[in-house]
């Protein structure tokens, strides 16, 4: 591992058991998170991005999940650690921010207690020192009256406040890696922006590496340094954020950008990607997995065993079909757009 690399994932497979067979939801993912970096993982629902996150931090149901491959962190392979060993890392070195702040806090515990919990297990601070740290953390995440909030229960706080509390929990032991799983999805748009600003500020302060899982390209553009696009369990494109937004290559990435509604366009129709993500059990395990959804592209354009190709420094694209790709409507073919209401 190079010195600026925090986390290195090599050929990770995470499979769920369905009727005694394991189906990989994360299928051969390799990724590197560097220090002081926000790495975004983008993809639609069911592409395996959340599974990837829970694999890293080990929060999956061990009876139903199989994790293979390497997750190298701090000279350890997280995928091979026991539950007890993972408990020493979770919360202390790697922590997580969850999607729904409404349900992610224990309704019967005071906010202060919930933040303090991690400190009890990972630090030898005295009770008074922990209380002081709780207030400091609440202040750090932008809560104005920390003394009062620490004594309150989750239902007494607004969604944005609760998400700030979740973030306070995540940063309480100054972790090196924070995994944020759709941290703004459940929030109002105005609150979203505040929470993202907070994440950026905290990242600059703590120099933690952040893995940001999202399906929102707007969020990615705002905060990420580097982006990995996932489709059907694989990374299909990876690039620095500017490169990806200005020069997307993979048909899936281009389709994603194409499907963002444009404020200034005259079009009344929303561009969509044809078809749906294949379910875990019906996933084609060979060939280009996106080929089903771009049937107008000739088969010869795809690689037999699609690999990631570095087409410019730091910019990786899977398969070769991007060279031949064009949108269906470019040729004036049949329409597949939704009719917007007028």
């Amino acid at each position: 591992m190079k010195t600026d690399e925090l986390l290195k994932i090599n050929d990770l497979h995470t499979g769920f058991r369905i009727k005694d067979t394991f189906y990989d939801a994360v299928d051969g993912v390799s990724l590197t998170l560097r220090k002081n970096e926000i790495l975004a993982i983008v993809g639609e629902s069911g592409c395996g991005k959340s599974t990837l996150a829970t694999s890293i931090i080990g929060l999956y149901d061990q009876n139903k999940t199989r994790v293979q491959g390497e997750i190298l962190f701090d000279q350890k392979n997280l995928a091979a650690l026991s539950e007890e060993e993972m408990n020493g890392i979770r919360g202390l070195q790697i922590s997580m921010i969850f999607q729904d702040p409404l349900s992610a806090l224990n309704p019967l515990m005071r906010i202060g207690e919930q933040i303090e919990e991690g400190l009890i297990y990972h630090t030898d601070l005295t009770s008074e020192a922990r209380q002081a740290r709780v207030l400091e953390l609440l202040k750090q995440v932008g809560i104005k009256n920390p003394e009062r909030v620490a004594r309150q229960f989750p239902h007494q706080l607004s969604g944005g406040m609760r998400q700030r509390v979740i973030i306070a929990i995540a940063i309480s032991c100054k972790p090196q890696i924070i995994i944020a799983d759709e941290p703004t999805t459940a929030l109002d748009v105005t609150i979203q922006a505040q929470i993202l600003d907070l994440l950026i500020d905290l990242q600059a302060e703590t120099e933690a590496g952040i893995i940001l899982i999202t399906h929102d390209l707007g969020v990615v553009a705002e905060v990420a340094d580097r982006v990995a696009v996932m489709y059907a369990g694989e990374i299909i494109e990876e690039a620095p954020v500017n490169e990806l937004f200005t020069n997307p290559k993979h048909p899936y990435t281009r389709s994603l950008f194409n499907s963002i509604p444009q404020m200034n366009s005259e079009s009344e129709r929303l561009n969509v990607i044809e078809g749906i993500v294949p379910s875990l059990m019906n996933l084609p395990r060979s060939g280009c997995r996106f080929s089903q959804r771009i049937p107008w592209i000739p088969k010869e354009a795809h690689e037999e065993h699609p690999a990631l190709h570095e087409i410019s420094p730091g910019h990786f694209v899977r398969c070769t079909c991007w060279k031949e790709f064009h949108f269906k409507t470019d040729k004036g073919g049949g329409t597949y757009e939704l009719h917007a209401n007028k």
Binding site: N87, R90, D100, A104, P107, Y121, I166
Partner: protein, 320 residues
Amino acid sequence: MWKTIVRRFLIMIPQLFVLSVIIFILAKFMPGDPFTGLITPETDPARIAELQEKAGLNDPWHIQYVRWVGNAIQGDLGLSYTYKRDVAALIGERALNTFWLSLLSVILLYLIAIPLGILAGRYQNSFLDKSIVFYSFVTYAIPTFVLSLVFLFIFGYQLHWFPTNGSVNIEHEAGSLSYYWDKFYHIILPSITYAILGTTGIIQYLRSEIIDAKSMDFVRTARSKGIPMRKVYSKHIFRNSLLPIAAFLGFTITGLLGGSIFIETIFGYPGMGQLFVSSISSRDYSVITALVMLFGFLALLGSLLSDIIMSIVDPRIRIE
């Protein structure tokens, strides 16, 4: 909160009034009267009629009702026709007996049901879980009188481990240590029987609550802090899973005075349940009405208590 509690008590007055009218009418509609049981071939019908007239049983029901309410408000619940004793004193004595029996029953019930429910939920689908669920359904299916009789036969009559009747042996001097010990000795077997049979609800509730709670987001948050699993259980999962049981606690507390008809009758235990059944069969009106009014009040009080308990254990619930 105090305002609400006072208001809830005030609402109880009309509720209890309606209940008293209904129970009074129903009791009077039952065929026969307290003196029917005294009739033998030698009884002079004129004597019975005289007794009925003297007891005021020939008056229209509403006159009787007003008379009864008037006395009840002054604290006089009348005399028991059967026992020839003041009803309040009679019920007080029985209520105390039932209270001790029920208290031990409920303690044993929780001691059995809560650990079993927790284990079943925590080790869902394991052999242990399946055994506990099997146990809970078997005990649910066994009628109370069957298990009571079986236990009474085995542990009482065959093994002579426990007394088979009564609440205390007559030879003990009231108030002495051996007297209290003997009282305790008499409630052990009926309590165990009651506890074994009553566990199903709590086990099943707790089991499903724990299974639900395990997959809650806040449990994942707790795990992401790196807390050991047993702490996640004790601090996060159990507390949330015990809420529905806390919701019934008020009823359980007031139910301590209700007594179990089957258990008390079969074990010959002089408690409220037994008194209730015998008062109905002997048409002991003053006891019937007093008991039903008491049970009604306890039910209302139980729901109020449950609400208060919930507002204490669950911060999301506040009585305004």
